[in-house]
């Protein structure tokens, strides 16, 4: 399923249509979004390479100095210049709040790669850290006022409709943002990858040790739900499980003993409609006082 998503990104946009967009969404209960993001980025890069085209990477660095503090401190002579210098591959962005400039920079970088012709480029927005480029995708609900959030979403929308963008994908931590912001992004995306923990805390209160023990349970695995919107309007839902290994993330089919779906189909009643496996075994062990002895068995008297 993750492969299906990567293939959809590889196939890119058709003429006159929006570029396919993927939202990778995680939460603090299962913060493995960056692993999925890296996997998608690696797969996309490998797909581009296998198509014999040259895969190049340009980085718009909005992490090092997102608000221009370092530039201003350097200008005053308070600190020396230790930031990585801008190069052909890396360009520094010193004001991520200027959304127009930021989206323009992304498109400029892409055009430097493919030129003004028919070539297309992919856009990956890694917003795993606080507001690093995340406002472009409209997912920073904290730093900016509501009006700006809408503007962010519009910027993102404009980027998708840029005729040279082949595909775009971004990562967001859903619990850091307002529901309407994440919902708007999900509407905008043709694909959604939702990362959920294997076990959810029943106690909604944060910070107790019970939740931490659940975190341990979810320490290196989780569920991967994907929603793919097709061009004709059909929506396809899929689920997988993943496991984080030192070599990378591994996706597996949902294990068959997971009875979550079956359980949810059974109507909720106050009594049990069926016996569990344990109950069934226990019932079989019970010796009834007057049991049928069979036709040819020796007669026993109680």
């Amino acid at each position: 399923m993750a492969e299906l998503i990567c293939r959809a990104l590889r196939d890119g946009a058709l003429d006159g249509e929006h570029a396919p967009a993927l939202t990778i969404k995680d939460s603090i209960d299962s913060p493995f979004g960056p692993h999925v993001f890296n996997h998608v980025l690696a797969q996309l890069s490998a797909n581009i390479l296998s198509a014999k085209s040259q895969s190049q990477l340009r980085v718009l660095d909005g992490y090092t100095d997102p608000l221009g503090w370092k530039v201003r401190l350097m200008e005053c002579g308070n600190i020396s210049n230790r930031s990585p210098e801008a190069s052909n591959t890396v360009r520094l962005c010193n004001d991520v709040r200027d959304l127009d400039k930021l989206s323009l920079s992304i498109i400029e970088l892409g055009r430097e790669l493919v030129g003004q012709g028919k070539g297309r480029f992919s856009v990956a927005i890694d917003s795993r850290l606080y507001y690093t480029l995340s406002n472009l995708a409209g997912i920073n609900s904290r730093l900016f006022a509501s009006s700006n959030e809408i503007k962010n979403e519009l910027s993102c929308h404009a980027m998708l409709s840029c005729y040279q963008v082949s595909c775009a994908f971004w990562l967001l931590h859903s619990d850091l943002h307002e529901v309407r912001v994440t919902a708007a992004l999900e509407y905008m995306s043709s694909m959604l990858a939702n990362i959920e923990p294997m076990a959810r805390p029943t106690n909604v209160q944060r910070g107790n040790s019970v939740n931490l023990s659940l975190l341990e349970q979810n320490s290196n695995k989780g569920k991967f739900h994907a929603r793919l919107k097709r061009r004709n309007g059909r929506v396809r839902l899929m689920s997988e499980e993943f496991c984080i290994e030192p070599s990378g993330i591994k996706f597996t089919a949902v294990s068959s003993d997971d009875g979550m779906i079956t359980q949810s189909l059974v109507p909720k009643v106050q009594f049990n409609l069926q016996l569990s496996e344990e109950e069934r075994i226990e019932r079989a062990k019970v010796v009834l006082p007057f049991e049928h002895q069979g036709m040819h068995a020796n007669l026993s008297f109680y």
Binding site: P31, W69, R82, L129, R142, H173, S209, L212, E216
Partner: protein, 327 residues
């Protein structure tokens, strides 16, 4: 050099922990061991332990009792905390988040980190930049002196840079917009201290500590956005220079908030979370609280590990032990 006791792990990997035996000349560290495994390790490596047992910087010591009754002082929690804070030594910066609540203060964790960082064998290459919003220098000096560490001397030796932020207040509450004051200036001071240390002494282990985030937020006139801006810039120092960042925060302040963004963002950012809570069963004489360490990044992979200990704060140190091992 790092050795791993694979044989100890193979039997019962979930219950048993990992032993990191770093270069014996510099450091020995025991992490996450249940008593049975610890006994096995001690038996196997008793030669090394015996040769090192007189070293004052050792986190645990052998008593005259049989091996099975080894007394732990701070090998459990302390070892993990130090493991968590050994950022520069392990080659990359780490973010350590310490969370406490009003019933149980986690200040002792910060004190432990200061002491361990400034103690041999790391002291010659260590630098701590301490932004204190909670207490004056004399407070930390008295506590650390009891623990056997003279902060005034360390400050004179340029190993401890103390930034007194008690009277700090952001002009018009804007940390990022106004240059020349507020959090931009504070960040400038921190980066300047880092640069001076690198140029002069070539410190290999630089730790930035903030006590505490909630008071920093008060100084920023309640603007958690500006606090996050500031923390982001501190975080860039961990990736660019390899500094470690340790911050203390009071979790219960945000307990009534539906979406405590500051805490959540910090938890996303942190690679190690140390949570200090009171016992769920209430106050006890011998146990002052419980300490939970969650290490998101282990040495050998991205797996997260959680350890839980009980502790008792004593006059000069803190005693850590497994839940239920004290009656």
């Amino acid at each position: 050099m790092e050795k791993r006791f694979d044989d100890e792990r193979s039997g019962n990997e979930k219950d048993c922990g990992v032993v990191h035996l770093k270069d014996l000349d510099t450091e020995f560290m025991v992490c996450m061991l249940d008593p049975i495994s610890l006994k096995a390790v001690i038996e196997k490596w008793s030669h090394h332990l015996l040769t090192r047992k007189n070293q004052s910087n050792f986190d645990f010591f052998l008593t005259s009792e049989p091996v099975g009754e080894i007394r732990l002082t701070s090998a459990l929690g302390g070892g993990l905390i130090e493991d968590a804070s050994s950022a520069s030594r392990s080659g990359g910066g780490r973010v350590l988040l310490i969370e406490d609540c009003v019933e149980t203060s986690a200040a002792f964790v910060l004190h432990h980190l200061i002491k361990r960082t400034l103690s041999p064998p790391h002291s010659s290459a260590a630098l701590i930049i301490f932004a204190a919003f909670a207490h004056p220098f004399s407070h930390y000096d008295r506590i650390l002196r009891k623990m056997g560490c003279n902060l005034a001397v360390q400050r004179d030796n340029k190993r401890f840079v103390f930034l007194d932020m008690l009277t700090f207040e952001c002009p018009d509450g804007d940390g990022g917009g106004t240059f020349g004051g507020g959090l931009v200036e504070l960040y400038g001071k921190i980066q300047k201290a880092v640069e001076v240390s690198i140029v002069n002494g070539g410190s290999r282990s630089i730790s930035i500590m903030i006590d505490d985030i909630s008071l920093l937020e008060v100084a920023a006139k309640g603007s958690s956005n500006h606090v996050l801006d500031f923390l982001h810039y501190c975080h860039t120092l961990t990736t660019e220079i390899g500094c470690s960042l340790a911050v203390l925060n009071h979790e219960d302040i945000y307990s009534r908030m539906e979406r405590p963004n500051l805490i959540l963002q910090m938890e996303y950012l942190a690679e190690v979370i140390i949570k200090v809570e009171p016992l769920a069963t209430g106050l006890a004489t011998d146990v002052h609280g419980q300490l939970t360490v969650m290490n998101k990044r282990n040495f050998d992979g991205p797996l997260r590990k959680k350890s839980n200990f009980h502790f008792r704060v004593k006059e000069n140190n803190v005693e850590y032990f497994y839940p239920g091992s004290r009656t």
